[in-house]
Point group: C3
Chain length 337, copies 3
């Protein structure tokens, strides 16, 4: 896959080589994301950060990634203020707004809207989430986190045991992650969910066609022997009614006691965030906050690296980043972390 | 007219020399807007982009123009969050906010509000639209587009035939454009609208006093022999009631069939955008999208050039832009377009 | 107090040395704030400007201050769009968002929320106002303004006579200012308010413990002999009901006639802004706008200097600012003011 000038719309665009290519660029971004170095490789470039549906962390993560490469960010948030509300086509919006920037990151509440926009755009478009459809940068940062966490334990994605827990029916995150996993070898996947919220058959079929071992269960039992446990958020807005949401809320939670009982001492804990920290939700308990295996914040940090990598690749500067770098002169605690 | 330090509040400020001066600066901006070059002439300058009424494209266009000159942008959108809602005077708001920036672009829903704000401001203020009153940067980019499109055909504004179609009563865009046209010679203007939505007599008088030939008709007939057709948006919010809006919706539309029947093969098509692309609106049909004479997106692009020119002139750097420029190192498809 | 890497959450953190340190850094910022020089000392640094409660001027003032030091700004405004609304803890929000920036300025409607956020943050957090609790940068800019205005008249905070007028019960601004004044000597303070809206006893006790003379009155009478009069805003939203607000609205106003009758010819007039300029409010009349002692806009300007100083101190670059400066090449009227 050629990245320069390309749109990033779906995980389906990626083969294993493309994934590895982006991950190696992400590795190169660490000194800049950790403020040990400053680069100006995108000096003068403008990101159009178009969030027609609010998402603070994804929006800021894209913007920060672009700033860290030396570029500027022009933002739009919300729908009501836009011409789209007055009947303008996505094609027209794209023709006009794409003349204001060099690359666009876009979130939209409607499935397919980002791809439709990309057809009218004169600059590369990166999908920041289009409704229930795709959120490819989340899937890539999840997989990148798995790779890095396993490497820390001397292990690899090929041959790992991944446990995915919670709402597997509505969670676009785990669907996209599963698609990416099909490019790897001999993954052992345990899916833990109530039967009504199980992984769609099409996804299970894909995983099995790729040679992976898939086990579906409705509760944790004994030792799960998992290298990674991926907890999913109870996305209440995905349920058809409040009763259904209430029924499963908290049934597939993870806390210190459950972790000790069912997982290995070094099982890595992931979650797409945000997690609902209210007592009645309890999907991933705060009593795990000091556990070194809790990778949820490293996972969020990796989002910046992945987005930097995609911008660098899309704008064709991955080999130039270090040529335009300088020392950081101000204090940063991050440089020591 | 001296631009350095001046406010840009109304098209009435401009004479033909001033217009030509801004247009020649806009021409100089092309390499930067097209990303063939990068300039830092406004390095360290801050634009206060104050949109007390939402307008995504005008807001982003101003912000992008400032970024392309090397400056930073601080933005405010919406009214409810501002001190204005707590009874603060525009004078106070201007005194305070103007200390935070070097130039201000402002949109406000109330006629005259931008001029009132400018009286309290300590930095130049550019009117980005004040209700039904003025939107001078739109008028300038319209006229600049006409000049460039005609030049492409070896022609000039002096002596052209312009056809303006649609709602000419409420459209502030065509009123401002008409005022600017008074500084040119022997323009032939055909106004096409229902009698109830005709051009105000005061504007027609101005055009005729300038020696222009004005023809008012209520429908297209035969060949219009126009060099330019300027379609206007049906601004539903300007009508006194929904019935009135419905009555004229679509009656003065333009599509491929109508274009072929009534216009010359190279008549340039303009529109202030956004256009309503819903089937029931049909003011400017998508079937013209591939027609090379459709200038509506070039028109939007020109908005960046005009706003760059106004910033450069207002901050007195028009002669310094190229002294602070460098090569663009990242990929841009725009550089080839 | 060591500033590098520290949070700025409360005026209680400051002793007199710390205050003087920040004020001397603020003095150094004048050439940059007045656009006589440009510095890039924070080149590559990112401010996370998180306003979970709207406040246009405070938000823009923080952003401008950071831009003037050469840094970039990523912003979030409003609450509804944030994960906090979906039950995310402030700790989680802080862990994630602090990875996107090098320092955070934050406003939040809930008392204590900024301190709670700071516990999860991996970068320094500056409190931009947390409900009725604290707004330390406002208190510092108020005190800095008093110092500068008195110095202009050859006087000092030690030994001055300060008159504070209006709603002293609910005004967090005057509470914080009073705490800071406790580090100075022999201040004469006259508090003018209706008895029901008097200064809390705890604050009066603090001032008296510091050796200051405190006089509480319910109306202006005779000559107040004040060096400074600090008018407070009638914050209607702080009152328990509308009747209570109406009762005192305008009773403690200041206009030219009252100023001439009760104050010295060079008494400096301050106000935290915004002031309600509607006729029925009349807390600080527009007929004082041309009075050279009206310091309210210089006070707002000083906010940029103080915030620049806090950013420079927090990021440890106060001694490096001039090493990275250059000339300003564009026109600025501010350079002459």
């Amino acid at each position: 896959m050629k990245f320069t000038g390309a749109n990033i719309l779906s995980v389906d665009q990626f083969n294993r080589d493309a994934i590895e290519h982006i991950f190696r660029i992400a590795d190169l971004m660490e000194p800049y994301a950790h403020r040990r170095k400053r680069t100006r490789v995108l000096d003068g470039a403008i990101l159009g950060n178009l969030f027609f549906e609010p998402s603070t962390r994804t929006r800021v993560s894209f913007g920060t990634a672009f700033n860290l490469l030396g570029g500027e960010v022009r933002e739009t948030t919300g729908m009501e203020s836009s011409a789209l509300a007055k009947g303008e086509s996505l094609y027209d919006t794209a023709r006009v707004l794409s003349s204001y920037s060099d690359v666009i990151a876009m979130r939209h509440p409607k499935s397919g809207a980002v791809a439709e926009f990309a057809e009218g755009s004169r600059v590369p478009v990166i999908n920041g989430g289009d409704g229930a459809n795709e959120h490819p940068t989340q899937a890539l940062l999840d997989l990148y986190t798995i790779e890095k966490e396993l490497a820390h334990h001397g292990s690899t994605i090929d041959g790992m045991h991944l446990c995915i827990v919670g709402d597997l029916k509505y969670g676009r995150t785990v669907h996209s992650l599963s698609k990416l996993l099909c490019m790897f070898k001999q993954v052992n996947i345990t899916l833990v969910s109530p039967p009504e919220l199980g992984m769609p058959t099409s996804i299970v079929d894909l995983l099995e066609s790729a040679g992976h071992k898939v086990t579906q269960v409705s509760e944790l039992s004994g030792s799960m022997d998992a290298d990674i446990v991926y907890q999913t958020r109870i996305q209440q807005e995905r349920f058809t009614n409040l009763d259904e949401a209430e029924q499963y809320r908290g049934r597939f939670r993870l806390n210190s006691e459950i972790y000790t009982k069912h997982y290995k001492p070094n099982t890595v804990i992931m979650h797409p965030l945000p997690r609902d920290s209210r007592a009645e939700a309890n999907e991933l308990d705060n009593d795990l906050n000091q556990n070194p295996n809790l990778a949820i914040f490293r996972q969020a940090d990796n989002g910046v690296l992945i987005r930097m990598a995609l911008f660098a690749a899309t704008l064709g500067v991955e080999h130039l980043v270090s040529r335009y770098d300088t020392d950081v002169i101000w204090y940063s605690d991050k440089a020591n972390s």
